[in-house]
Amino acid sequence: MKPKYFSIPYVGWMAIFVVAPIILVFIYAFTTPTGALTLRNFSDMGLFMPVFIRSFRLAFISTIVCILLGYPVAYILARENQRVQRVLFLLIMLPLWMNFLLRTYAWMSILENTGLLNQLLTALSLPPVRIINTEAAVVIGMVYNFLPFMILPIYSVIVKIDRNLLEAAQDLGANSLSVFRRLIIPLSIPGILSGVTMVFVPAVSAFVITQLLGGGMVFLLGDLIEMQFLGTAHNPHVGSAISIVMMLVVIAFVIIMNKFGAGEERTVGL
């Protein structure tokens, strides 16, 4: 049997569930409710500028936090022996098997004004903090939900680094710190880049987290789009237009970052 027959269901699936919605979004974005072609849906985009900026800013912060937390975890993970690796993997993946809403609700009860965190602080006779319904809470939620997608690609790159290279570097006089700085970090840049893509893109369009942890105070692009499709504003044409603009910005961001990253990778040793 030719292997290409196996791909027919997959191609069909892609056509129906990936390509078709995108085409629909495009049609909506350039038409009026009566079906006439128009560019009007894009004309109010300036109005949404603050939402765009806030979304990208929070996604950016979440991504940076994910790198700072995820890189050491991935690095430690990659250096453990097989059995320890399997256990740690399980721990990292475990939250992903729980429903997304449940996970986020759990964070709600931790961060609430009378939640676990503040109970703990009070018990330690420290002043309570007000986190729930702030941008910080949203960032915490995003980091928690997207961290595994940063850890996994970095881990898989570090684990593949040839041990001989590490020994060669030591042999040439590099102590552990130099080996890390001059070898492991530059060699793991491809992993960081795919991690960034996998965290940043969903973070930009996140919406449930913002409602549960931001309490409607932190209004992001995802909320805006949802509102246009399902919520009170109900204008799927404008919603589609916003989606397209967001998609273009994200694509531009990813392309620029990969270009920058590829250059970085070459010169980082200097």
Binding site: D171, L172, A174, N175, L187, R266, G269
Partner: protein, 387 residues
């Protein structure tokens, strides 16, 4: 008197309870080209890794310049390595690879200046004939070029000792020969001690000042190339270095050995009377003579043209010898042989006795030929060739 630089003293190594090195005692002199020679898996790389600091021996000590260095990490040892797989840094170009060690060096707590680094890298590029390659990606280089980058990357640090783990293993014959000469030249001009690992005996003979023959984690013999070749200590060394016929013999007295029931004159002595010994006769030390004048008589069962010489396989009483000769002796012909006393070398019996030296299964080609029915003819003339 050469100065001793590195010493391994009673070093042993085991992985998962399996002995890999057994009680190694070995010293390395300054400015020496020493080769560790042995078959795959005998522990050569393991020995180098102990010297480089990547492995700690489970027992025994490592000394550098008289100082015990068991606990000194690799980056603090004045030793550089050329790894079996070159291990070039894929994210750096040729220049950056070579400069890697220099950028880490500190002189009186100060980094080397950019100009100094650059001039030393270019000097190395010149030595390994890679001028103009400095900007190239290492992954875009041929095997031979990568090899030379690896050499330059290690040498540029001016180490006291360079460890080379089968550095020419991946190269073709021609390039190998060129690089052998090149490496030997670099070693002589820089005066750096080379500890070289190979399983190629020709390479070892051609390049080394001293050869250490290893097998199953033990040193079998240490000596100059001539000593190793001319006076192998046991059947393993004799077989591993060059071609050899290894026969059972009985030592009657100093200078007199019995092989195949005949007595032969030889130059070795110091054995117990009637001691059972292994006798090595190199294929090139055997002269072919007329049947009537031969010390032994045999039948040619195989012949291979080797360029300058023929390799012929000769059957003596069912034991097949390899003889190298310029004379053409057709298969089936009867020949006599003559061996001078200095062509006969006597060794004590060892755990390797009886394992090597019979050419019955020299190659498939020879196997086929030796399948041809062969009539055993008792030899008429008896008597001893002591003349």
């Amino acid at each position: 008197m050469p100065k001793e630089l590195i010493r391994l003293s009673n070093c042993a190594m085991a992985f998962d309870g399996e002995d890999v090195l057994k009680n190694i005692n070995l010293y390395f002199n300054d400015k020496e080209f020493l080769t560790l020679l042995g078959p795959s898996g005998c522990g050569k790389t393991t020995t180098l890794r102990i010297i480089g600091g990547f492995l700690k021996p489970i027992s025994g000590d490592v000394y550098f310049d008289g100082v015990r260095i068991n606990d000194v990490p690799p980056h603090k040892r004045a030793v550089n390595t050329i790894f079996q797989k070159y291990a070039l840094f894929p994210h750096l170009n040729v220049f950056e690879n070579i400069a890697f060690g220099l950028k880490l060096q500190r002189q009186n707590g100060k980094k080397l200046s950019k100009t100094e680094i650059s001039s030393r890298v270019f000097e190395m590029l010149d030595i390994v004939s890679l001028k103009g390659f400095e900007k190239r990606d290492v992954t875009s280089l041929s095997g031979g070029q990568q090899q030379r980058v690896a050499i330059a990357r290690a040498l540029v640090n001016r180490p006291k000792v360079l460890l080379l783990d089968e550095p020419l293993g991946a190269l073709d014959m021609r390039l190998r020969k060129d690089m052998q000469i090149e490496l030997k030249r670099i070693q002589q001009t820089t005066g750096i001690t080379f500890i070289y690992v190979t399983h190629d005996q020709e390479e070892a003979l051609a390049m080394s000042d001293t050869i250490v023959v290893m097998e199953s984690g033990e040193i079998q013999q240490i000596g100059t190339p001539e000593e190793i070749y001319n006076e192998p200590k046991n059947a393993f060394v004799a077989d591993f270095i060059g071609e050899s016929n290894i026969l059972d013999g009985v030592m009657h007295s100093d200078g007199l050995v019995e092989i195949f029931g005949r007595k032969f004159k030889c130059l070795d002595g110091g054995f117990k009377p009637m001691e059972l010994v292994d006798v090595v006769i190199r294929p090139e030390d055997i002269d072919i003579v007329d049947v009537s004048q031969g010390m032994l008589k045999g039948t040619v069962t195989g012949i291979t043209f080797r360029g300058v010489l023929y390799d012929i396989i000769v059957d003596f009483h069912g034991f097949k010898w390899l003889i190298q000769t310029t004379d053409l002796c057709p298969v089936g012909s009867k020949i006599g042989i003559k061996i001078d006393p200095d062509g006969i070398h006597i060794m004590h019996k060892s755990q390797f006795s009886g394992m090597f030296g019979d050419y019955s299964s020299f190659s498939d080609e020879y196997d086929e030929i030796s399948d041809v029915a062969y009539e055993f003819e008792p030899e008429e003339a008896e008597g001893n060739y002591e003349a």
